[in-house]
Structures are given as C-alpha cells and as structure tokens.
C-alpha cells in the first residue's frame, strides 16, 4: 500500500469516527428507580402519595413523567386498584401525586407497587396504626404547676405517639411538640404510653426559652418565654399523632427523613407510612381570662 492510499484510509477512518454523536449516560444503573413520599391519614377519605422516576429531570414534560403505573393493595383483604394521578405544579415543576380514596382500616398493611414501562418494579408497604384514646388525669387542673398524667392506650409493637400542646395567645393558636422536659414512656405490661407533666413544662415547647437561659439548667426548670398568665384563656388542645410501625426507622432521628437510609422502599428511595392524628381540648383554671 502506498503512503498516499494509507493516508486516505486514515482520513476515512477518522471521518467515520467523527460522524458518531457521543452521549454519555449520566445515571448510575441502579435498582432504585422511583422515589415515594406519603403518609396516609387513617381517618382521611383521600390521601396522596408522591411518586417520581428518580432519573427523570425536574422540568420534564408531563407525558414523559407518565411512564409508570401505581397499584394500591390491601394486603389483608387481598384487594387492589390502580391509582389515578393528580398533576400539581410547583415552580413549573410537574409532580405526580397519586390519589388513594379508599377508606383505611386500622392495623392493616397496604402495599404500593410502582411498575415502569420497561418492567422495573418498586414496592413499599405502610401499616396503619391502631386507634388510641388519650386520657388526662386530672381532666381539669387548678394551676399551671399541677402535674397531669397524660396516657395513651392501644399503642402496640413498633407504633409510637408524638403529641403537641396548643394554646391561644394574642388571638392565635400556637402548637409545639412536647418533648423537652419529659417524653412518653411505655407503661410496663400494658399497651399504654404515658408521661407526667405540668402545663408550664409543656409550654416550654410552645414558647421555647432563649438558648442562653437553658445553659446548665435542667429542662424541668426551664421557663417558657410566654407563661401561663399571659395566655388568652385556659382552653388548651392536645394534638397527637399515632404513627404506624414503618415510622420507627426514622423516629430516632426525630422524624428526620433520610431518603436513602430509610430502606422503606424496595428498589426506590423515600418513605411511605400511615398515621392517625387526633385532637382533644382540655382546660385549666390556672389561666386568667385575658380576652
């Protein structure tokens, strides 16, 4: 072969290489294909769960997003149905939120299955909690320093309860999760959890003291920035949430969700659970009527 033909051959090979468009696959090939976010409310007739293909861009075309179907299954009853979606835009980002309009049963496992157009499947299961009742002893206190036994029944297995105190101050209701002074403890030999606190203790979580006032001071001696005397009245609320067992994995992080570490979604990330939220009112005579 003469050098001239060799040169032509080199140019032809190089030219052919140049014709190829080069695209890279930016995503790791992984089992996890979908993210799932939702916490079903036991008493709600309509719940929503967000599902997203985690390798699709945020501003993708809506038809591009609809490349999977979601099935909701009652594992106790053996019934299932395909969920319809509801597209909600946030800052031009379309999000797919699937509608669960089925009446939920207590302590029942529900499975969500996401199936992609190419057969990839992600699943997650949420178990509804039981129905718990709150009892306060005494039901009415005479002042803000009187201890109250706060007790919830029917809390089984990995279920747990968090509760908030709500008070009226300057015309508005303020809530704070009660956790600083003492927390709910399991009552041995029963399915109850309980804690003894007074209203001043609980107000610490509604109107937290400034950080400097808590240094080297035990929480039970903390003072709220708004004390009982300044509340509008003695009518108070307790809002409590009874969490299903799936929440247990994130409970220790005070419900901070690590989407990658929750392990809740098989072949996916995110979290799917169920809870039961209720609210009661009680009163104390220790607050003057300031209205």
């Amino acid at each position: 072969m003469s050098i001239k033909y060799f040169g032509v051959l080199i140019i032809a090979v190089v030219g052919l290489m140049a014709c190829d468009e080069v695209f890279i696959e930016p995503f790791e090939v992984v089992d996890a294909e979908y993210s799932v976010y939702g916490a079903m409310e036991l008493d709600s007739t309509t719940n929503y769960v967000r599902v997203k293909d985690i390798q699709s861009p945020l501003l993708a075309d809506i038809e591009e997003l609809r490349n999977f179907k979601v099935t909701f299954e009652n594992l106790e009853a053996g019934t299932s149905k395909q969920l319809s979606d509801s597209i909600i835009y946030f800052n031009n980002n379309p999000t797919m939120n699937f509608i669960i309009d089925e009446e939920l049963e207590p302590r029942t496992a529900y499975k969500l299955t996401i199936e992609g157009s190419e057969g990839e499947v992600a699943t997650t299961t949420a178990t509804t909690p039981g129905v718990s009742t709150l009892s306060l002893t005494p039901e009415v206190t005479q002042d803000c320093f009187e201890d109250i036994l706060i007790e919830f029944d029917n809390v089984q297995g990995d279920e747990f309860i968090r509760f908030e105190l709500g008070v009226q101050y300057q015309g508005s209701f303020y809530f704070g999760e009660v956790k600083s002074v003492r927390q709910l403890q399991k009552v041995e030999g029963t399915d109850k959890v309980a804690v003894i606190l007074n209203i001043k203790n609980m107000l610490v979580d509604v109107f937290p003291p400034v950080a400097e006032a808590t240094v080297n001071v035990p929480p039970r001696r903390w003072n709220p920035t708004v004390n009982c005397n300044r509340l509008d009245n003695g009518v108070m609320r307790i809002r409590y949430t009874h969490f299903g067992p799936e929440f247990k994995v994130i409970e220790e992080k005070t419900l901070a969700l690590d989407v990658l570490e929750s392990g809740d979604v098989e072949n996916g990330i995110g979290f799917f659970g169920a809870k039961n939220t209720k609210q009661i009112m009680f009163r104390t005579n220790g607050v003057p009527n300031n209205n």
Partner: protein, 767 residues
C-alpha cells in the same frame, strides 16, 4: 502579635542570608581558575540559551563541557591553569573556536557573539540541553520556541499551553478551565516559575492559551517529576519559564489578529547592548467571534500584558518583569457561574558574574498575587486570593576542589478567602464551605538547598542535593533529599540513561470539589499546623536512543507516591467544603516518544500510559459509603494517551497537524434527581419538596475517549525589507469530533468541548 512574628522572621531571614553570603565559598582552590562564558546573539544582542561550550586541552581531548543557562552564561569552576581551545556552538548560529589562556587563580569572563547561520550543521551536543519532543532527561524536558511553533494554535503564533497538552503525561480536564495535571499530580501541586517568580495560574480559561506566547519565551524547563534541590514547594511538577530580553540592538514591533485573540508587541534598546524594553499585550475576541465560527456561545474573556526591562552591563545582568493576566468566563455556557482569576507579578532577577566575583550570584526579589472568584448570577460568590512576597538567592561555591550550589528563599504569603454561598436563598445553605465563611492567614516559609555535581567518569553525572523548608508557625522543618543521574554509555549524545529520585513537600493546599469539572475554583490555604504535611516520593528512569541522523526515541517509566493529599470531603449532594480528608495517591506511568526529523519533515509519536489511584478513609471522605477505605481513580486518570504530530515544509509553506487521543476520564455518575418531601411534616400536595441531585459512588463512571485533530498551514511574506507578514490558516478539532467535557449536575446537561474551530491569523512584523 502577627507583626512581631513577621518582623522577627524578616530579621532572621536577613541575617541568615548575610551569613550565607559571607561564608568562604572557595576553600583550598586558590590555584584553580574560573572561566565564565557568556554567549550573545550577534543579531539582537540577547543571550543564547543552551549554547554548547566545550573546553578542549591542547592535546585535543575534551576537558570540560556544558551549556549556557537562561542568561546565556556558563561557568567552569576549578579549571587548571593553562591553554585551552574553547568551542562554542548553537543551533541556528555559526560555531566559534578560540584559544583561552588561564592564569593560576584567575577568574575570566569570556563574552562572545555568534552570528546567525544559514546551516544548522556542525553542532555537537554535549550536555543534553537540545530541545524537542524526545529530549527528556529523568522527567526534565526543555521546550524551545521552535517546538512550540510546530503545534497548530489559533494564534497568532504558538502558545506554551497548547504545546504542553501534546506531551504524554500531561492531562487537561477539557478545553476550558486552564488546568494542567502532570503525571498524576493536580494543578495545585505544580510550581510555575517565570524567571524564578512564582505565578499561581498563568493559563487562560481557554486551554488554547497561556500567558506565554512563543514570541516572549526564551525556553521552558518542564520537570514532570524528579526535579532537583533548587526547586521547592511543589509535590508534582515544576515549570520553569525563561522569558527573552527585548532586542538590544534594534526596534521591532508586531501586531497580530486571529478570531481568538488580538495582540501587539514592541521591543527595542533603550541603550544599545545595555538596556532594552519589551512590552506585549493580548486581548481575547473569541467571545465576539466564536458564535459565528462555531455556532455556539463562547463566554470566555481573557487578556494578558507583559513588560520586561533588561540591563546587560559588564559582569551584571538584570531583568525586571511585570506580568498581569485576566480571565473571566463560564466553563458551561448554560450555567450561571462565572469564574475568574487574575495573576499580577512584579519581580527582578539579577545575576552578577564579573571577574571581581569569585562566584556568580543570582538574586531574585518580587511580589506576586493571585485572585480567583466564582460568582453566581446574583453577584454573590466566593473569592480566594494569595499574595506572595519572595526573596531568593542562588549561589555557587567550591569546597575541597569541588563545586556546589546553594541558595535560600524566603516567602511571605497571605491567604484570604471569602466563601459565601452563591445561592443561599435557593439552596438554604448559608455557608457552603461549612467551616466559616472567611479565611485570613499569614504564613512565612524559609527554605534552603544545597546540591553538588559529581562526574566519576566522563559519561556519568550524579547530582545529589537536599532541600529544606521551615515554617514560621511551628518552626517545623522538612527534609527533602534529591538525586539526579545521567549516564551516556557511549560518551556521546546518541544514547543516554537517566534516573531521578527525590522527596518533596508542599506547605500550601488547594481545595475544590473534584467531581464538578464545571468549576475550577480552588480555596487556597496553608497547610494547618496540626495537619500532616503533603509529601511525595518520585522515582523516574529513562532511556534515550538516537538512530542515525534522523530518528530518536525515548522511554521513561515513573512512579509517584503522594501522601497526605488533601481532598475535599464529599457529600451526597453537590457542594463544596474545605473540610478535608487525607488521601494517599499513587501514580505509575510510562511515556514513550519517537521522533523523525529531516530537513523537510518532522514527525513525533508519543504514547503515555498512566494509572492514578487515590485511597482514603471512607469515614473521612465518603461517609455514606460503607467501607473502611475508599479507593478511586480521579478525573485526571487518563489511562492511555496517544499523540501524533507531523510538520512538513512544502515550498514556502509549512503544514502542521496533530492528532490527540486519550482514553476516557473517570467521572461521577448521578444516583437521583428528586424532590425530597419531609414526611410526615410536609404534605406532597402542599409542598414541592427540596430539589436535590444526588451523586453516585465518586468516579465510578468513565467518559468516552477523547480525540481531536488540529491542522494548520502557514507562510511568511516579506513585504519590504522592514515589513514581514506571517499568515496561518487552520482548524482546531478539524473533523468536528464530539468530545464530552463533563456532565453538569447543576444544569443536568452534557457539556461538550468546542466543535470545529476554523481560524485564520495574521501577524505583521515591523523591523
């Protein structure tokens, strides 16, 4: 407190310097003579670098030999008195031979001017300073203007940056960003000196340009590793750039233009043969011309200006240099991040070599600053600056009939960084760098070195040396022994075996998120007193063989082990931090170079094989990965590199082409793009959730291979005796190959390197 410490150190440094200068530098050598040979070009009165100088005994046997340095000077110490024949030759100049008589104890300066030659024949290489692709000696490559000229560049004229990228072992992250990774080292581990003046980043944001166009360069010594004791403060490589003096005999100017850049240069004598001035300025125009040539936005802007005032008196030469570079632009045109950096350096380097001085004295003083920034669309951003004052003295001495080199350097550095979060309202992260938003730190480093040269036989040269750096903060001292050896078994330049080994320490570190090629912003900071000092061990061995008159080949194997390399901790989400983990890095490599050179044809073939492997504690570096030690190949691990350069003279034209190939670089793939809803506090129909991009395992992916063919053809026209027109046409990436630069996780788009860029450039030289 700081001022007191600084004052104390200044005084210590000054007295130590004075003490060194007063040391008896010539012991028991009273009867020996010293001969200094200064070689000047007859045409412009400027020094000739790399001229070969041989001292023959009257019997005709070679007594001593060497090559002139960047000042055109060569010093023979310990010469027996007597009569000798002195032969001087250099490529492109007429050779010269003369008789020299040296009296006992005499110090003689012999100054000579070489006329320009019509033929290049007759030069005898004695010292390995010939330039060219295969001329590597244990990691050192001397680059000449003629080498740079052969590489197509969208000029006008060639540029050091483009040339460096044709060398095996030199890797860039893409065609933008101005970063060079040399034999496994990172840009922050390179030391760049311009006439011994440190310049942090003289490479422009377009990798086709640096602050060193061929028209101002005298020569460049690139040490890809294994450098000698006279260099300190870097753990990977040294680039020692020597600029040329302005013409000492006549005025010259040049104006030039191309679609990339316009430039103007003027030079001439202020006092014939005594003083000259050279001024050159360049300004990029690619931002304006690029879209019509490439069909894409090219948001890159850069400029540089260089001024050089030179004094050549008898026995004394001094060069005062001022350099300013400016760069601003976007690596990814779609991303709202504007990167910028500026170098400003002012310094003087003076060399005394008169007959009254027993030993020549080389003194350098100056000030150099580097300012860098990364600015978001809302003008919020981050800056990292370094200011360096430096003082340096290099000297020679003789002890027991044996010459040695020694020197000291004092550096006062001030680091300042403002690290505000560019987009706090969007990301919700007020301090992106985690450990506070500002950094202000003075450091003072005093360093010394000592080296000598042994020649047990005429064919073997051994250069041992040692360097030490002392920090003011904790008065800790590094110990860095070095050794370089060359052996020419045949006693000629046709065959050479070389070897280098050494230990290196670096007291400055630069932190960036290596996973994001879209930003070249580094946070520069001194190594913290409590942190381990980054060090490296280099070992290089090379073999060079010339076959006949036209063919030459070189092979070098190298190994680098870097310890305590600071690597920014990686989070699952993109983002930077100055919290660092300390990695161990190992680089193995082999460079092969082959050259064919005839009067009309010049062909080089270069192949580089390298593996770069980092390892660090996973807890410190990638907390989310469950392993004790995380091992990875960083983005500059280009396993295979192949370069083919051809230059052919056709009549009055010269055609140049270079084809470059390298295997794909590692990159970090994405794991997910998501909107994280904080269940149970957020309701998916009420809240968008937090937008996040999550990285996968760092550097687990591989980009496609890179390849590019650059071509050019040039010709000169003599319009009149005083007017010369240089023209060049060419194309960068001439077959329009799609080369992937990186995948931008912020815009979620693939960013490619430039498509085909045709260009035509003209230079008008006025003599």
């Amino acid at each position: 407190m700081v001022i007191k410490s600084v004052r104390k150190l200044v005084l210590c440094g000054f007295f130590f310097g004075v003490l060194l200068s007063l040391l008896p530098t010539q012991i028991l050598a009273q009867t020996r003579s010293t001969l200094r040979v200064l070689v000047i070009s007859e045409e412009d009165g400027n020094p000739i670098i790399g001229a070969n100088v041989i001292l023959y005994r009257k019997s005709g046997t070679m007594y001593k030999a060497g090559a002139t340095n960047a000042d055109g000077l060569l010093e023979f110490i310990n010469v027996n008195n007597g009569t000798y024949d002195l032969a001087i030759s250099s490529i492109g100049f007429e050779s010269q031979e003369t008789e020299i008589i040296l009296a006992p104890g005499e110090t003689r300066v012999y100054r000579t001017e070489l006329p320009t030659a019509n033929s290049e024949l007759g030069e005898v290489i004695v010292s390995g300073t010939r330039s060219g692709a295969v001329q590597r000696v244990a990691g050192k490559q001397t680059i000449s203007v003629s080498d740079i000229q052969l590489i197509p560049a969208p000029g006008p004229g060639g540029d050091l940056s483009v040339y460096l990228q044709t060398l095996p072992g030199v890797v860039t992250s893409g065609d933008r960003g101005g970063e060079l990774f040399i034999r496994g080292g990172t840009p922050a581990q390179n030391l760049i000196l311009v006439d011994k003046m440190p310049v942090v980043k003289p490479f422009h944001i377009s990798n086709l340009f640096s602050a060193f166009p061929q028209s101002v360069i005298s020569n460049v010594d690139l040490y890809a590793g294994g450098f000698g004791a006279e260099y300190e403060g870097a753990t990977s490589s040294v680039m020692d750039v020597s600029l040329r003096q302005g013409n000492m005999r006549k005025f010259q100017s040049q104006v030039a233009a191309s679609p990339y850049i316009v430039s103007a240069m003027a030079e001439g004598p202020l006092q014939r043969d005594k003083q000259s001035l050279l001024v050159m300025g360049r300004y990029s125009v690619i931002e304006q011309a690029g879209p019509s040539l490439t069909g894409e936005d090219v948001p890159l802007k850069f400029s540089d200006i260089l001024a050089r005032y030179s004094i050549n008196w008898d026995g004394f030469t001094c060069n005062m240099t001022a350099l300013h570079t400016y760069d601003r632009g976007k690596i990814n045109p779609q991303r709202d991040i504007s990167l910028g950096w500026e170098n400003t350096a002012v310094g003087a380097r003076c060399l005394g070599y008169s007959e009254e001085l027993k030993n020549s004295v080389d003194f350098t003083i100056g000030y150099s600053t580097y300012k860098s920034s990364e600015i978001g669309f809302d003008d919020l951003g981050r800056t990292s600056n370094i200011s360096m004052g430096y003082l340096r003295m290099d000297n020679t001495g003789t002890a027991f009939d044996h010459p040695y080199n020694y020197g000291f350097r004092w550096n006062l550095n001030f680091y300042k960084a403002n690290l505000d979060e560019p987009f706090p309202e969007i990301t919700g992260k007020p301090q992106r760098f985690g450990l506070g938003a500002t950094l202000e730190k003075y450091t003072s480093i005093f360093s010394t070195y000592l080296s000598t040269e042994f020649k047990p036989t005429n064919t073997l040269t051994i250069i041992p040396g040692v360097t030490t750096q002392i920090r003011q903060e904790n008065v800790s001292m590094t110990f860095e022994p070095r050794l370089r050896m060359t052996w020419k078994p045949l006693g000629t330049d046709n065959q050479e075996i070389s070897f280098a080994v050494g230990k290196y320490a670096q007291l400055r570190e630069a932190i960036t998120d290596e996973r994001d090629a879209g930003t070249v912003f580094y946070v520069y900071k001194p190594v913290a007193v409590d942190d381990p000092v980054p060090t490296a061990i280099h070992a290089i061995t090379g073999y060079r063989q010339r076959i006949g008159n036209f063919i030459e080949a070189n092979i070098e194997a190298y190994y680098k082990h870097n310890s305590n390399v600071p690597v920014a901790e990686w989070t699952r989400e993109p983002g930077n931090t100055i919290r660092t983990a300390f990695a161990e890095a190992e680089t193995f490599g082999l460079d092969l170079q082959f050259q064919l050179k005839t009067d009309l044809l010049y062909v080089t073939l270069g192949y580089g094989l390298a593996e770069v492997e980092y390892s660090a504690s996973a807890d410190d570096l990638v907390a989310w990965i469950e392993t004790d030690e995380f091992v990875y190949n960083p983005s500059h691990d280009r396993r295979h590199q192949l370069n083919v350069l051809a230059s052919y003279k056709i009549g009055k034209f010269t055609a140049n082409a270079i084809w470059r190939y390298s295997s794909g670089a590692p990159y970090t793939k994405l794991y997910a793009i998501d909107l994280i809803v904080r269940v149970p506090y957020q309701d998916p129909i009420q809240n968008q959730g937090k937008a996040v991009t999550l990285y996968s395992v760092p550097f687990d992916g591989s980009l496609p291979a890179f390849q590019r063919l650059d071509v050019s053809i040039d010709r000169k026209f003599q319009l009149s005796p005083s007017l010369e027109l240089e023209t060049e046409i060419g194309a960068i990436n001439s077959y329009d190959m799609t080369n992937v630069f990186y995948f931008d996780v912020n815009t979620l788009r693939q960013v490619n390197e430039l498509p085909m860029l045709p260009y035509a450039s003209i230079s008008l030289n006025i003599n």
